[in-house]
């Protein structure tokens, strides 16, 4: 334990000394390597594939094409539109067409390139406008309705028209949010082997071992008990490893076919095409407000460009609406969202999935409305905050809320009220706020099964073994489990060993997405640990003839005996006595979210057992000559319920702000247009060209932890890994307005966009002056 309850991670030193094994660090004797042949066309029918040139090369063991893996799949059961290798058609440049297994990677790459594919090129659908145009070609034939709209969602709550009637000020604007991608430093990599007993083992850099397990069973037509999915250390995900990927399925299939272990790693450029990142989204927002600052109504429309496959796109379409009003009270509103198919790499979930885009629009809108009624933007947000123990107009059950404490904290720490409008020329300050979910009430595969489970075993050695299906991808979930169990029985976290994400040995957890792990697996761990504690307690109370014992500092204390001496035993000794009495000590705990009734039966996507809240203030400097925006400082206050390990929570806040700064000023996952000679290629498919922030573009980040002690969270905790990214981009946009008086309705705020906006404003100002 160091400052204020923080402790270093149980796996920290393994990572810092290079001992931690990631999937690519593993190899097997006789291991083959795989490589893909990818489509050069955005949209084309596959007429024929000739694999013989590859198969005749020395060192090539097998080649797979789409017809070898005919079963469709997808992470969301209602939208299974994918195949590991294209079947019949290709739908984006970079789509996997064939996969080669060879003695080494170079041979596999060479062999893949030798495969001859004849294509019949089709017209490509490359924009939201194209996707909404019924005269354009359809990407996915055979759907119920011939359309490139994967999902349209329309919802209305209260009476928006009456709400606008009641408004003193009504404002309409359009916003355009860019696509962006995760750029986890470890690329996707999978290693598959089949042992003599017929067990297929797949080691993979995945955030979703359980869904991967299911999908492998489905696609390979193999019993799930004959498949084992193991997630070694993962070089981060941020949502980018939440889908089953072609390299995982092909590695498994090729290991079965060749009888040899095989590894398939994506190179960096391939990861840019595998994508599954943020949807490029066009939005239109109309909001009304009274002159004393009460939001009366909103009307919102969003069109998301989703790329070639569904991934989590159905969920995205719902999240746009669910997370539009939160963290504010909004009784009268409606929204309509479209998630479209286009011939670009598929989008999916990226940190703050589905909530980043509506926040970009609404938080800038609030600033404009605050200006219109002459109210502080901080105060406007405070007075509209949702309240604890209430239900929102769209049926979300709200429990703990500390949004106003977050706003007060960032306002105070940054000096927001003293600085806004009063900073030197070209310096500006802006504020924004948000809320996010702590996991989904309703599982992707609808059921009432536990969504997370933990098993623990204690024995006379004094260590506790923890088994959990969770996927630590760097966020620290292994340490979270160890710390919860250790704290419950008063031992050090390092005396707990965590075996996670091995489907043969760990109970099911649904995966690291939707900010669910601390809330769901943490609660499961609390329950298992409390059972262990109760068993030990019972043994010691009986043995010592006392009413209660205390677990602290690796010891169990039973007060004083008749001679005035302390009654005490080491944890290991106590476990030994408990083992004698109860037999082997093994306990399970699980978490199933509460059944929360909603007035809205259709509202199955979005509700969560709890919500986190965030407020941020950003201070920027804009160079009016070049348009370069320098983000100087970001203050981030986050209501995480209870900071189980403050330093790890802070790390999540800092990572979120950092990722938001990248999306605000640099990152644009974009493609060359339809006129480009070589089809729609990624404009910046390398780390250098894509431009993610180095330390030099990263502001000073000031994290402030706010604790609301959620009554259902594990020891009071809520999420911290995604919500804190939501306010960053609009806070920076609002700061740019304060600095130079221009509204950035399109992100990222690149020098050319900012300069254009500044020049346009200068012309407008000059015209008005005349």
């Amino acid at each position: 334990m160091s400052a204020k309850g923080s402790s270093a991670k149980i796996d920290g030193l393994d990572k810092i000394t290079g001992r931690a094994l990631f999937t690519d660090d593993m190899s097997r004797p006789g291991m083959l390597h795989g490589a893909f042949l990818r489509s050069p066309h955005a949209h084309a029918r596959i007429v024929s594939i000739d694999t013989t040139p590859a198969l005749s090369m020395e060192g090539v063991h097998a080649v797979l094409v789409g017809e070898d893996l005919p079963v469709n799949y997808g992470v969301i059961p209602v939208a299974m539109d994918e195949h590991a290798l294209a079947v019949g058609k290709v739908r984006f440049v970079g789509e996997e067409v064939a996969c080669v297994a060879a003695v080494d990677r170079a041979t596999a790459v060479r062999a893949a390139r030798s495969i001859v594919v004849e294509y019949e090129v089709l017209e490509a659908v490359l924009s939201i406008e194209d996707a909404m145009n019924p005269d354009k070609p359809i990407l996915h034939e055979g759907r119920r309705k011939a359309s490139n709209v994967l999902r349209r969602v329309r919802q209305r709550y209260g009476d928006a028209d009456a709400g606008f009637e009641a408004a003193d000020v009504i404002l309409e604007a359009e916003y355009d949010y860019p696509g962006s991608t995760h750029v986890a430093l470890e690329t996707q990599v999978a290693l598959a082997e089949v042992t003599a007993d017929g067990l297929l083992s797949l080691y993979s850099s995945t955030q979703i071992p359980h869904y991967l397990h299911r999908i492998l069973g489905r696609v390979l037509q193999r019993r799930m008990q004959d498949i084992r999915v193991i997630k070694p250390h993962v070089g981060a995900g941020y949502g980018g490893k939440s889908d089953p990927f072609a390299n995982e399925i092909c590695a498994a299939a090729l290991a079965i076919q060749t009888g040899r272990p095989i590894k398939i790693i994506l190179d960096r450029e391939e990861v840019f095409y595998a994508h599954r990142g943020r949807h490029r989204t066009k939005m239109w927002l109309k909001m009304g407000i009274t002159k004393d600052g009460k939001i009366t109504a909103a009307d919102f429309k969003a069109w998301a460009e989703g790329g070639a496959y569904a991934s989590y796109g159905v969920v995205t379409a719902y999240y746009f609406g669910v997370f539009l009003p939160l963290p504010y009270v909004l009784d009268n509103w409606r929204f309509e969202s479209h998630r479209c198919y286009t011939n670009h790499p598929p989008c999916g979930p990226k940190r703050g999935h589905g909530a980043i885009q509506p926040r970009f629009a609404l938080e800038q809108h609030l600033d404009r409305l605050a200006l219109a009624i002459g109210m502080s933007p901080a105060k406007l947000r405070s007075i509209n905050s949702v309240q604890p123990e209430t239900e929102t107009s769209n049926g979300l059950r709200i429990t703990s809320v500390a949004l106003n404490e977050c706003i007060e904290a960032v306002v105070k720490a940054s000096g927001f009220e003293e600085k806004m409008g009063k900073l030197p020329p070209n310096r500006g300050i802006g504020i924004a706020a948000s809320a996010y979910m702590c996991g989904a009430l309703h599982a992707i595969y609808a059921s009432e099964l536990p969504q997370s489970a933990v098993q623990i075993c204690a024995d006379r050695s004094g260590r506790i073994a923890i088994f959990s299906g969770t996927a630590d991808i760097g966020q620290g979930s292994n340490h979270m489990l160890a710390q919860i169990v250790a704290d419950t029985v008063g031992i050090e976290s390092r005396d707990c060993r965590v075996l996670e994400a091995d489907t043969d040995f760990t109970p099911v957890d649904l995966g690291s997405y939707s900010s669910r792990v601390t809330f769901f697996a943490g609660n499961a761990a609390v329950r298992a640990a409390e059972k262990l504690k109760a068993a030990i307690e019972q043994t010691l109370c009986k043995r010592w003839e006392v009413d209660a014992v205390r677990f602290e500092g690796g010891q169990i204390h039973g007060g004083m005996n008749a001679e005035g001496e302390p009654i005490v035993a080491s944890f290991a000794q106590a476990v030994e006595w408990a083992e004698q009495e109860h037999g082997t000590l093994g306990f399970t705990g699980y978490y199933t979210p509460p059944k929360i009734g909603s007035r809205f039966r259709r509202q199955s996507v979005g509700p969560s057992p709890a919500y986190s809240f965030t407020a941020q203030v950003a201070e920027v400097e804009v160079d009016p000559e070049t348009g370069i925006v320098k983000v100087l400082d970001v203050w981030c206050a986050h209501d995480c319920g209870k900071a189980l390990n403050p330093i790890i929570v802070e790390g999540q806040l800092e990572g979120c702000v950092y990722m938001g700064v990248g999306e605000a000023i640099l990152e644009d996952h974009n493609f060359t247009g339809p006129m480009s000679r070589r089809g729609p290629l990624h404009k910046s498919a390398s780390i250098l060209e894509y431009k993610i922030p180095t330390l030099h573009e990263t502001p000073n980040i000031h994290s402030i932890l706010v604790e609301s002690m959620d009554k259902e969270g594990p020891r009071g905790a809520k999420e911290a890994g995604e919500g804190p990214q939501l306010p960053t981009v609009p806070a920076i946009a609002n700061a740019i307005f304060d600095a130079v008086g221009v509204r950035m309705e399109t992100a990222p705020f690149t020098p050319d966009l900012v300069l254009t906006a500044i020049e346009r404003k200068a012309r407008r100002d000059a015209k008005e002056a005349r």
Partner: protein, 171 residues
């Protein structure tokens, strides 16, 4: 296929002789041929710094360095930094939780080890300048920077600067 060549070098203090192709990268030599998997593939084109090792003390990007250029030289990988105990830099990274996923960490630790050997007491601006060479996508560099500053203090015999989380109630 070009003729293999014999490479003689030292890795983490041990003499090595390897038969390599002339186009073998230093990263593949270390990871595939010698088993030093602490150095990582992040981009393979010298953009990210995850492959950083030290060649005669200086940090190099192993993914774009030819193994053959290590002839007669001394290589340090992350596996060679901790001697029985973690180095001060490593201990500070641990205490500040400066490694989240940990994929970039070995490279950054080696960059800092090289910096502190060359300049025992660099200013914060110099530390910031040097750290611009490596990408970390998890931490926002905040804990990396605070760990590096703490390491500088401890290496110079000054009191440690442990991390101090801020709670709203303390403001």
């Amino acid at each position: 296929m070009p003729e293999p060549i014999i490479l003689r070098c030292r890795v983490n203090g041990t003499s090595k002789t390897e038969l390599i192709t002339p186009n073998r990268s230093l990263l593949d030599l270390l990871r595939e041929d010698m088993g030093y998997t602490g150095s990582k593939h992040g981009c393979d084109v010298g953009d990210c710094g995850a492959c950083t090792v030290r060649l005669n003390g200086a940090p190099v990007l192993a993914c774009i360095t030819l193994a053959a250029s290590a002839e007669g030289k001394s290589i340090q990988t992350i596996e060679g930094v901790a001697q029985r105990e973690p180095s001060i830099v490593q201990q500070c990274f641990h205490e500040h939780v400066a490694a989240q996923c940990g994929y970039c960490t070995p490279g950054i630790v080696l960059v800092l080890e090289a910096l502190f050997e060359e300049q025992p007491d660099p200013g914060e601006e110099e530390i910031r300048r040097i750290l611009g060479s490596n990408i970390c996508r998890c931490t926002g560099y905040t804990k990396i920077l605070s760990a590096a500053i703490d390491a500088r203090e401890r290496r110079n015999g000054r009191p440690a600067k442990p991390p101090e989380p801020t709670f709203a109630r303390d403001l």
